[in-house]
């Protein structure tokens, strides 16, 4: 019996130490939650917001930085400005694009149409791209999302942005209340309208609506003061709420919101206790 117990104890200690090491010995990284469709309101978007959307998708849902990073797995896209024309001029080029925008679009929708030399799947002699198509499968960007990424790629590569902001969401419903682009919109006067407009609840839980990409705001007034909330809205990346990703929370609210709207948001949030 004594033998038996010491064997049991030994095994429990071993298992316990494996668990302890996995919990304490290595950093606990919270994997990102599954991607969700961005709530996009094209009607009220200016080019700055559109590019910001592209940036977010590029770094987030699109998983582009998984490969397009400094580790040499895929071409660096900040150099696409100088590279794209060279691709089109390449004798190997057999795709159907005629201009740079077309080349970029084709790279995203049909990656194997042209494979940058040295980056093809092993053994395919650069005829097959390891890059997944971005319209379907695991990335599955919608039409406007794809356009936003294209615009971002052009901007980021130092090219002139020729992509236009799509006027509708494709098969998705458009927001009837949206003002025409260029026309100044009337300020919103209720929190709910503001929240709907800026899709706060797509990421945050506020009362009944549940979003989990950002912190729960249902009782934010209990722990945060007005100054903190103001900062969180105007300069979200200055301080990142624990356990969340940087760069998710829109950082251009300052230019989007009327002053009255900003105060309204702060008033409302600071009262949620």
């Amino acid at each position: 019996m004594r033998q038996f117990l010491s064997v049991i104890a030994f095994m429990l200690i071993v298992i316990g130490s494996f668990s302890a090491y996995s919990n304490l010995g290595i950093p606990q990284i919270e994997p990102a939650p599954p991607p969700t469709e961005e709530v996009i309101d094209l009607g009220s978007m200016d080019m700055g917001q559109f590019l910001a959307l592209g940036d977010r998708i590029f770094n987030g849902k699109g998983t582009c930085t998984l490969c397009h990073n400094s580790l040499g797995r895929a071409p660096m896209l900040d150099q696409i400005g100088s590279n794209a024309q060279a691709r089109l001029d390449d004798a190997r080029y057999a795709g159907s694009a005629t201009d740079i925008e077309g080349y970029l679009r084709e790279s995203l929708t049909d990656p194997s149409a042209y494979v940058v030399a040295g980056f093809g799947k092993a053994g395919t002699n650069d005829t097959e791209s390891p890059m997944p198509g971005t319209e379907s499968g695991s990335i599955a960007l919608s039409g406007p999302e794809l356009a936003a990424v294209l615009a971002f790629l052009q901007d980021n590569g130092g090219l002139e942005v020729t992509v236009e902001i799509p006027t509708d969401m494709g098969d998705e419903a458009t927001d009837e209340n949206a003002a025409e682009p260029g026309e100044p919109r009337a300020p919103f006067t209720s929190f709910q309208d503001l929240s709907d407009e800026f899709a706060c609840e797509a990421c945050h839980t506020i009362g009944e609506e549940a979003g989990d990409l950002g912190p729960n705001l249902s009782a934010i007034g209990a722990t945060r003061d007005r100054d903190y909330i103001r900062r969180a809205l105007l300069d979200p990346n200055a301080e990142i709420a624990e356990g969340f990703e940087e760069g998710m929370m829109p950082d251009d609210l300052g230019t989007q919101l009327y002053a009255t709207e900003l105060e309204l948001l702060i008033d409302h949030l600071s009262q949620l206790k």
Partner: protein
């Protein structure tokens, strides 16, 4: 034992009926309309049953089922080999040992079946649409699986219960053939089950919307099927060996007579030998699998090797290190069985130093700078990865050195009781030393050159020549040694049982570390699918679609491992109880 038998049959009967109902029901409905696309689910499509977390239930039950299945599939493989060795050498000890191994696995067999049934029920309850979808595609293979299960049970029981009946020339051959048949069926079962899970990772035979083209073989023979098959087959043997080793270790510790001790020492030695033989090629099967995953989808490959999962490989390295160290430690302790071992004791400390050094290199994340903030600064919320490829050469070098030195331990162990009589012994030994030195230098050179003097794309290029070097060293050295020791004389009889108790704990560590490691790797294999049931085809929209942290996963694995070991202890205990007779004085009428 008869209870166990009917239990096993009952479980497979239930499994069969459920399979037919659940599997072919939807399939028949589909037949008329052709095959539909993969269902698109919402959170409401995942029933909650009794308030429990469905994913957790599936996770633990599947893991338990897998552990037992791995064990009961592996044991007949080496029982078959040991039986054959017994027939060849006409040494009855082998036959007895083979019988004892299979006896241990027989209760485990019915537990496997029960857990399989439980897994099936859990899938149907918690993930009905996923199961429905898979079963329309795999309707035939699921049906044959259930049938094969009957065959497996029948042959296993015949093999086990007929052991003493089928003795003697022709009968022994019949018995051995039964063993072969048993393995053929068992392996087929595993291959079928592997097809279903690899389909979820690398679907084939379906279009992008998940519409099945009707060719089941294509779905079975998907991209990752064979890499997983190979990896599991080898790992199962190592695992089965380690569990049986723990059994022998326990029997050794509780043995009363020195005869018993000698027997279980010998059994433990053989089990450990089996485990190590299968452990040595395992890292290569693992690399092959990882490379194939990468080839299938770069995205999946990077998810596997980068981000949070990169840290998982650090845990894995620690565990494999523990496996190697305990296996070596056991060998060194075992040298005490021979009076001739003293000649080699000096070498042990050097081997130990190299092993520990390699171990440290392996699990030090030197170029892996993945703190939380670094991870974020690298890219988006999804996977921001640092190239573990960058550290691959260093790791590869370490693992190859570990394997070579473990092999050296083994070589020394083999030599410890022998005195060579060939005239060219000195030259032979010089050759051995030269072989090892050249091999080690080559591995180091390849690792350093490719690791630090070439660019990223070529860093992995070192692994294959390194592996080849290791293989060459092992094979050539074995051949050479068998010539050097041809006609060698023994120092004296081996003293089986002359081994310290603490050596048995090395066997326990081996079994526990193996169990836990399998659980951990099960998590990553499944985890790289991320929020997909079937990658890119059927999305997981349940509230549990998120990837848990490593710490959480480790805790689940630990809980499952404790349950598993409890069941294993039960199995061992049953094996013991079945041979105990109590004489209740005055109870029965005279």
């Amino acid at each position: 034992m008869r209870k166990t038998l009917s239990f096993g049959f009952l479980a497979s009967l239930v499994a069969l009926v459920v399979c037919v109902l659940a599997g072919t029901g939807p399939a028949l409905a589909q037949e008329a309309a052709g095959f539909g696309p993969a269902p698109v689910l919402t959170a409401a499509d995942y029933p909650t049953v009794a308030g429990v977390n469905g994913r957790l239930v599936i996770w633990i039950v599947a893991q338990l089922h897998l552990w037992f299945a791995a064990f009961v599939l592996a044991v007949p493989i080496f029982v078959f080999i040991i039986e054959a060795i017994g027939m060849r050498t006409r040494d009855k000890r082998y036959d007895d040992m083979a019988y004892e191994f299979i006896k241990v696995s027989i209760t485990a067999y019915s537990i496997t079946a029960i857990l399989g049934g439980l897994l099936l029920f859990s899938l149907i309850l918690f993930y009905p649409h996923l199961f429905g979808y898979l079963s329309t595609i795999f309707s035939k293979s699921m049906f044959y699986y259930a049938l094969l299960f009957f065959g497996e049970s029948a042959v296993l029981y015949l093999y086990y219960y007929g052991w003493h009946w089928l003795q003697g020339d022709l009968r022994k051959w019949i018995h051995l053939s039964l063993g072969l048949l048993l393995n053929a069926i068992g392996t087929t079962l595993m291959l079928l089950a592997n097809a279903w899970l690899t389909f979820m990772m690398s679907p084939a035979g379906v279009d992008p919307a998940g519409v099945f083209n009707g060719n089941e073989w294509e779905a079975i023979h998907n991209f990752l099927w064979n890499p997983i098959n190979i990896h599991r087959f080898v790992a199962n043997i190592a695992y089965g060996g380690s569990i049986v080793g723990a059994y022998a270790a326990f029997k050794f510790l509780t043995a009363r007579t020195s005869q018993e001790k000698a027997h279980y020492d010998w059994m433990g030695y053989n089990a450990n030998f089996i485990a190590i033989c299968a452990l040595l090629p395992l890292p290569f099967a693992g690399y092959y699998l990882a490379a194939e995953i990468y080839a299938y989808s770069q995205q999946m490959g990077i998810t596997l090797m980068g981000g949070i999962f990169a840290w998982l490989f650090i845990i894995q390295a620690v565990l494999i290190g523990a496996l190697f160290l305990s296996a070596n430690y056991y060998l060194w302790c075992g040298m005490g069985r021979s009076d001739g071992a003293r000649r080699y004791y000096w070498a042990i400390k050097y081997i130990a130093i190299v092993l520990i050094g390699a171990f440290l290199v392996w699990f030090t994340p030197h170029t892996l700078v993945l703190t939380n903030s670094e991870l974020k600064s690298l890219g988006g919320p999804h996977h921001s990865i640092l190239g573990p490829l960058g550290i691959m050469p260093a790791k590869n070098t370490a693992v190859n050195l570990m394997i070579i030195f473990t092999f050296l331990s083994f070589l020394i162990y083999r030599r410890s009781n022998k005195v060579a009589t060939v005239s060219w012994e000195g030259m032979g030994n010089t050759l051995q030393v030269a072989l090892f030195t050249a091999g080690i230098l080559n591995i180091l050179f390849l690792g350093i050159y490719h690791g630090y003097f070439t660019n990223t794309v070529y860093k992995v290029a070192a692994s294959i020549p390194q592996v080849l070097t290791t293989f060459v060293v092992i094979v050539v050295s074995l051949v050479l040694d068998s010539f050097i020791y041809r006609g060698a004389r023994d120092v004296g009889p081996l003293h089986w049982g002359r081994i310290p108790d603490r050596a048995q704990y090395a066997l326990f560590l081996l079994a526990v570390a193996f169990t836990w490691l399998m659980g951990l790797m099960g998590y990553i294999r499944s985890g790289i699918r991320q929020h997909w049931h079937v990658v890119d085809i059927m999305r997981d929209n349940s509230p549990n679609a998120f990837t848990p942290t490593l710490g959480y996963a480790a805790n689940v694995v630990s809980v499952a491992a404790v349950i598993f070991l409890t069941l294993v202890i039960f199995v061992f205990w049953i094996a013991k109880v079945s041979s105990v007779k109590t004489l209740p004085a005055g109870y029965w009428k005279e």
